[in-house]
Symmetry: C2
Subunit: 404 residues, 2 copies
């Protein structure tokens, strides 16, 4: 419980510290971000990774952009056009927001991405290793929207299923499955959109680095109550959260919230509804040796809870900047040999910038090592609690899977 809160506090520190920075002068080589809606020139990013934002707000008195941990005052140019150029941004995907006279909204020039429980703008800053998630000239799998009925929740649910290239061409072949979970305030769109899970797997499979596998991304924003009444829950946090939580229409009571219970809310849906549905509809190999689960942040906590409680169903486990449910780790630490005998890969990932502020994943790795629990630890260079960390985690994790 405590490390979760510490992790989130760190993320907040990284995500929302206001700071005063004079607008930079953008390089002449600035180009529109790939996350812009088609035809939009702004935001632009130059070769030093400085981003220039633009917003039309002729009657506004104060306009700011909040991006990559900084909050930047925009200045009014001609005719109600507000602009600012930031210092160099960290490579990778960042949620960002515009703040117009106190209203936190998405930039209309940007595509939108569901994070912190609303439709954020997002900016893709080129990364030196971006080739691994690029749309390349390799065979491409599909990302299928699949609707299924949950008996646990009494509701229709939508998940995304990646089927690898050739899935329809080889109707006798069966595939292993990796279940991928998003973070708090995100949903099932996170891995296919921000996470680029399909391109990462397309590229790994084409290079012979990962086995063809099915990926499943479901909505893990499940509370332990019925679907009718939505109980209190913690306020949105983590990187990219809006500075204020003020757009929330309901003042959610925060007292008495049980985060561990919240984390485990998804377990029942996954075990009772989602996995049986996937195994009945898709050509899976429906045993523990061909089933993996990984998740980021909150989804990492859900992964540990779901897999540790159901080791008869999973042999591969990944925590990407994960929340750490201490009770579940206490339990596996009682029998390291038993855990090692059953779990083929336990993977832990974090970003070096994230780790500097919050070393809890490194500490968990060291604790597991000391106890003799086999695990793989990966640090993403120069990244924080953000999607480039998690894309790289997937790139590192997928090749370790299903090698028996």
């Amino acid at each position: 419980m405590k490390p979760i809160l510490v992790g989130m506090a760190a993320a907040v520190l990284l995500g929302a510290q206001p700071r005063s920075v004079r607008s930079q002068t953008p390089g002449s080589d600035a180009r529109p971000a790939t996350t812009n809606v088609p035809g939009q020139q702004y935001p632009k990013i130059d070769s030093r990774l400085r981003a220039t934002f633009r917003l039309v707000a002729p009657g506004a008195t104060k306009v700011q952009v909040s991006v990559g941990g900084g909050k930047y005052d925009m200045t009014e140019d001609t005719a109600g056009v507000w602009m600012v150029t930031t210092p160099p941004l960290v490579p990778g995907f960042h949620y960002y927001t515009m703040i117009i006279d106190g209203a936190t909204v998405a930039d209309p020039n940007s595509k939108t991405f569901f994070g912190s429980s609303w439709e954020h703008s997002g900016i893709e800053v080129p990364a030196p290793d971006e080739d691994f998630y690029a749309t390349k000239d390799v065979p491409h799998g599909e990302v299928r929207a699949r609707w299924y009925y949950s008996n646990v929740r009494h509701e229709w649910r939508k998940c995304f299923v990646y089927t690898p290239p050739g899935y329809d061409d080889h109707p006798a072949v069966r595939y292993p499955v990796l279940y991928l979970q998003h973070g708090f305030g995100e949903n099932q769109y996170g891995w296919p959109t921000q996470g680029k899970m399909n391109f990462i797997l397309d590229n790994l499979i084409a290079a012979g680095k990962a086995k063809p596998m099915i990926l499943v991304a479901d909505n893990g924003d499940i509370e332990t109550f019925g679907p009718g009444g939505r109980p209190s829950r913690p306020a949105p946090s983590a990187s990219g959260g809006r500075g204020d939580a003020g757009q929330r229409g309901d003042a959610r009571a925060r007292g008495g919230f049980d985060f561990n219970s919240f984390l485990s809310g998804f377990e029942s849906v996954m075990i009772n509804d989602e996995i049986p549905m996937i195994d009945s509809i898709y050509r899976t190999i429906p045993d523990r040796d061909h089933r993996a689960m990984a998740g980021l942040s909150m989804g990492g906590g859900q992964t540990f809870i779901t897999t540790f409680d159901n080791l008869d169903k999973f042999a591969y486990i990944g925590g990407f900047s994960p929340a750490v449910p201490q009770d579940r780790f206490a339990k596996i630490l009682e029998d390291p040999a038993g855990f090692n005998a059953r779990v083929r890969v336990l993977f832990l990932g974090t970003g070096t910038v994230e780790r500097e502020h919050n070393p809890n994943i490194l500490q968990l790795h060291e604790r597991l090592d000391s106890a003799g629990i086999r695990n793989v630890y990966y640090e993403s260079p120069g990244t924080a609690h953000e999607w480039l960390t998690w894309r790289r985690d997937l790139r590192e994790f997928a090749p370790l899977l299903f090698k028996q």
Copy 2:
């Protein structure tokens, strides 16, 4: 009711005329719109279809919501919270925007929908016949994101492919295909999201009213120039457009724009890249008797151009509130018998509210009738140039297909 509808249609057609309306008092039975992001209470819609909007903007001096053809001043409640309740809205899906001190942005309480070339907020107002596009307890098909390379455009493209229930269970069965195109300023997400194409077909197929078929929704926003340089194009229009086009970063020259050339830009991609790709990857019946195309507004114009130019490839044609390329109709009017002999269904749809202001589709129908060209004409009761009209068009059109 009628005068309201007429007023709204006028506003829609003229591009969101401002009008002064005192805020209504919402009914106590108001419920959150289904288009809200999860957990958001606002906007709410009461049983009389009045919508209450809420925005937090503590430093703003003027906040408006533009929805359904009206622009409504919001009033500051307590602590920077702005609210307004509209008069009854027309049933169906409406794009809408917030205007904060002159900045036109999406409502952060809403999911986003790509329209007028940016990520709008949208509100789903309950319709008396909403059952036909509801997520019901029937077998559900999939909506698959498919990437393919266009040799015409020299770019990777993403389209959505609906495969009907049972597609993977019956690998020997082949299916007919309906290609569905969106309107101007929209993209391939329109039909699966705003259009609910998959639920409409799931329900029709379950009721035995339509044959199982594949649907394909691609991005028709193709210009006749290369992918590198984006030429001038007409300004966003139609319902839901922002009042100003000011967020456009580039001042696009509007002179010399050739709309007919713009409409035909997609034809080459579809004929040379998309159809061969679909026929090679999916289990289609790859002949004209099992291939249909329909589109709304701009996509209707693209449909007429593409199908009339390629009658060896299409036997079913649908125009939903379509743009009307006069040159192509002039050509088919030269040989009504020849056209009738080849085209099994030519479908024309419009909304009654749309028709009152712009009877061009009714007139086209009458002109075709007079010339002896067989066609089906449908009017959606009480709707304008919006998605409920087009959802109903699909409901009416799909049962007419592939009956030979």
